[in-house]
Structure formats: structure tokens, C-alpha cells
Amino acid sequence: MSDWVVQAIATAVKAGLVIGIAMNIVPLLIYLERKISAYMQGRIGPNRVNLVLGDVRYLLPPSMRDAVPASLSRFKLIPGSLQPLADAVKLAFKEEIVPASADKVLYYLGPLVAFVPVATALAFIPFGTGTWDLFGTGHVIDLRIASADVGVLGLFAISSLGVYGIAAGGWGSGSKFPLMGAVRASAQMISYEVPMGLALLAAIATVGSVDTQAFVYEQATTWGGMGWLVFKQPLAALIFLVAMFAENNRLPFDLPEAEPELVGGYHTEYSGLKFALFFLGEYMAMILMCSLFVTIFLGGWSLPFVVDPSGTSGLNALASGLVFLAKIMLVLNFQVWIRWTLPRFRYDQLMHLGWKVMVPLALANLVVTAIVLHLAA
């Protein structure tokens, strides 16, 4: 087979793999988030919907049922683990309520635009090595969907379109709370994109490329495999991390959906699967931003002694994928941890932090980076 055909098939497989894994991380993340939140607050959390429903003794022949103690009969495998699935099914069968005052086109477009660009931007994330020799056939597979040179820049260009979905949904609902939520969300997301972009600039200057795979190679091949940008660019990493929370509308920056003030924010008027799509988009954005943070600052799929950055074996490629998955799960759980550690900001504090602290800091970091790079070269 020609390389072109192999690459086309590989692209389809990679796309299915990435979307499949990302879509499966979402329910897992919702479950983990609810469970971790519960433990942090001394609650139990979801524990009713289990993998085994009912009495397992009925799986045995009648004569053997009494031999199993009653305490073991309701064996629960990871209590509550199927709760997100149950919620999804519930949402699917909910009535679709469209407000009479809604702008129908924008109302339907909102959730779609909030989800599609964010999920599409995953194409740029390298989830494994770029040198896997496909079963020794000589076809080199790059473990990311789009091997585009624009990398980080393209990722930002596409994922930023998600703001339009939120704005369209909030405006199209024709209701006051969603409008306020949408306006707040858009202002917050674009405000924090400035420091995020500036922090990214410092990282790009350090690596000398916008190619996402180049970022990982640079980090995997310097300082004995630990040349992670979180060590080389600590301030940029911190700014990016804070901006990441604001971009994802996560606590402590969840003002767009501050329940006591705004009911549900921009998705107040949405029900059923349209609400689920907004929700999915939000969690996809979390996964995307965490993947980007891992790729740029935490060495991506690389780990000294575990992954060989230029290895061609299938085992090496698999190891790199698992390392990447482990890293993003850690960062995702960090987000949940922060959620219950810091209280919510006020809106003026949020804008103050964004424009008066983060932007000047990011600019200063850029100046220092420029001078250090000049002196070091």
C-alpha cells in the first residue's frame, strides 16, 4: 500500500481514537469531580447507580442462593460509577423547551458552535510520539491527527471560536439571565486570552517553534529529558494555568454561571441534549486546555526512562500515549482540587486580575525571556 493510503486510514483511526477517548474522559471526569468534591466536603457523593444492579444471587441456581451471605449479595462495583451515563440518558429523554422569545437560528446554533470548534482543536494535540514505525512496515505514524505546522497558533484560532457558541446561545435565548451570563462569559474569555497568548509567546520563543510536536521534542531532549517548560518558564506556566481556569469558566472564575446571581448563566434556557452539548463543550474545553498545558509546559507525552522520544517501536508509542493520558488526568484533577480550595472572585476582581496583574506580568516575562535568550545564544 502506498504511504498516502496508510496515512489516510491512520488519520481516520486517530480521529476516532481521540474523539472516543475524549468523549469517554468526560463522564469519567464528571464522576471523579462529583466524588472528589464529595470527599472534600465530607459527603458520600453519587453511590446509587452501580455497574451491578440488583441482587447477584439471582444469577446463581436457586439451590445455591442461600450459600451467599446477604451482605455480599448486593455487590457494588465502584459505587455511583454509572451516574453520568444515567444522567445522559435522562437528559436525552427530557422535553425540549424552546422559549417563545428565542431567536431560533442562534438558539440552535449555540450549543453546536460551543462544542464543535473545541473538539476539533484536539486535532493539534500530540498524544504520543511522532516516530512510530507502523508494525515495522516503514510507514511512520505521527500520533496526532493534524501534523500542521501552525500547531499552537491553529489550535488557538479554532478553539477560540467556541466563544461564539456561548454568545449565540445566551443572546438567542431571548431571556435576561442567559444574556448576562453570555456577556460575562465572552468578556472573561477574551480578557484572559491576552495574558494566555503572551505567556504562550514566551514559551514559543524558548522553543523556537509553534509546532506542538516540536514542543515535546524540545522538552524531552534537553536537561536529561526534564527540560520541561514549567521549569524553564515557571512564570509563563503559572500565568497560563490561571488563564486556563478563566478560559474554562471554572471556579474560582465561574462567574458566567454563578448560580446565586445568574441561575445557570448562558445555558439557563436550554434543556435535554442541547444542554448536554453545552456541558460536553465545557468539559471538552477543559480536556483541550489541560492537554495543551501538558504539551507545552509538562513535557507532553515524554517521561525520562519510560518513553524514548525517537523510539520507533509500538510499545514505545503505547507508553507515550499512556504517559500523556496520566498527565492530563493529573492536571484535570488539579482543577477539581482548586475548585474547592478557592472562593469565587467578584467580577471587578476578575477583570483587575486579568488586565492589571496578568497582562503586565506576562509582558515583563516576555521582556526577560527575550533578553535571556539573546544572552544565552
Binding site: 436525552a92 422559549p99 500542521a148 479554532i158 435576561k176 509567546l201 441534549l273 452539548l277 545564544a377
Partner: protein, 126 residues
């Protein structure tokens, strides 16, 4: 042109996949589930009170427009720095000194713009 295919066509492919997922979800939500529309149910939600005015194309704080304008300014200026960031490390000796001075000047201009905005109270949120 052909060289662009492996890098960029997969993005369109993935966008199509995601669009399909989203479209199916939208379609299912309009097919599944009961449909009992009432006038009260279709009112905009205002915590159970009758809506004060029909529709909500209200005015909101002018600050939000200002933030959007500031974003365009600063983000556009940041975009000019991307080519510098990519090429700076590989530049040789003399050229790099010139480029460094120019870039520092550019960042200073950015900083001055921010400072001006700050002093004109454009960043205040009262």
C-alpha cells in the same frame, strides 16, 4: 499545495466528525422526549415571576464593549510578536541585536498602551 494536505485535511475531517456528533445530538433532542408545549412553559425563565418585559434585548454595561476593543488591540499586537518568537532563537549575532532592540521597543509600546489605558481608568470596573 499538495504538501498542505497531510497537515490540514485531517482538521476538516475531524470538524466533520464533531459536527456529525453535535448534529445527531440536536436531532435526537428534538425527536426524543415528550412534547407538551404550554404558554407558561415557553416564557423566559425569571425564577417563576412573569417576565418584566417580553424578550431580553436589554442594554448592558458599556464596559463589556471596552473590554472587547482592548482585546482586539492587545491580541492583534501580540500576533505581530509570533513571527519574532518563532525565529528569534535561530537568528545569528548582529541581526539578533537589532531584532532584540526592535522587539523590546514594540513590547514597550504595548506596555505604554496598557499604562495609558490604566491611567484613563479604562480598566476600572465600578
Amino acid at each position: 499545495m499538495l504538501a498542505l494536505v497531510p497537515g490540514y485535511v485531517p482538521i476538516a475531517f475531524l470538524a466533520l466528525v464533531c459536527l456529525t456528533i453535535g448534529g445527531v445530538a440536536l436531532f435526537l433532542s428534538s425527536v426524543l422526549g415528550p412534547k407538551r408545549r404550554t404558554k407558561v412553559k415557553e416564557m423566559p425563565y425569571e425564577c417563576g415571576v412573569d417576565p418584566i418585559q417580553q424578550g431580553a434585548r436589554e442594554r448592558y454595561s458599556i464596559h463589556f464593549y471596552l473590554v472587547a476593543i482592548l482585546f482586539i488591540l492587545f491580541d492583534l499586537e501580540a500576533v505581530f510578536l509570533f513571527p519574532w518568537a518563532v525565529g528569534f532563537r535561530e537568528m545569528g549575532g548582529d541581526a539578533r541585536v537589532v531584532v532584540l532592540v526592535v522587539v523590546l521597543g514594540f513590547i514597550a509600546a504595548l506596555g505604554a498602551g496598557l499604562f495609558y489605558e490604566w491611567k484613563r481608568r479604562g480598566l476600572e470596573w465600578d
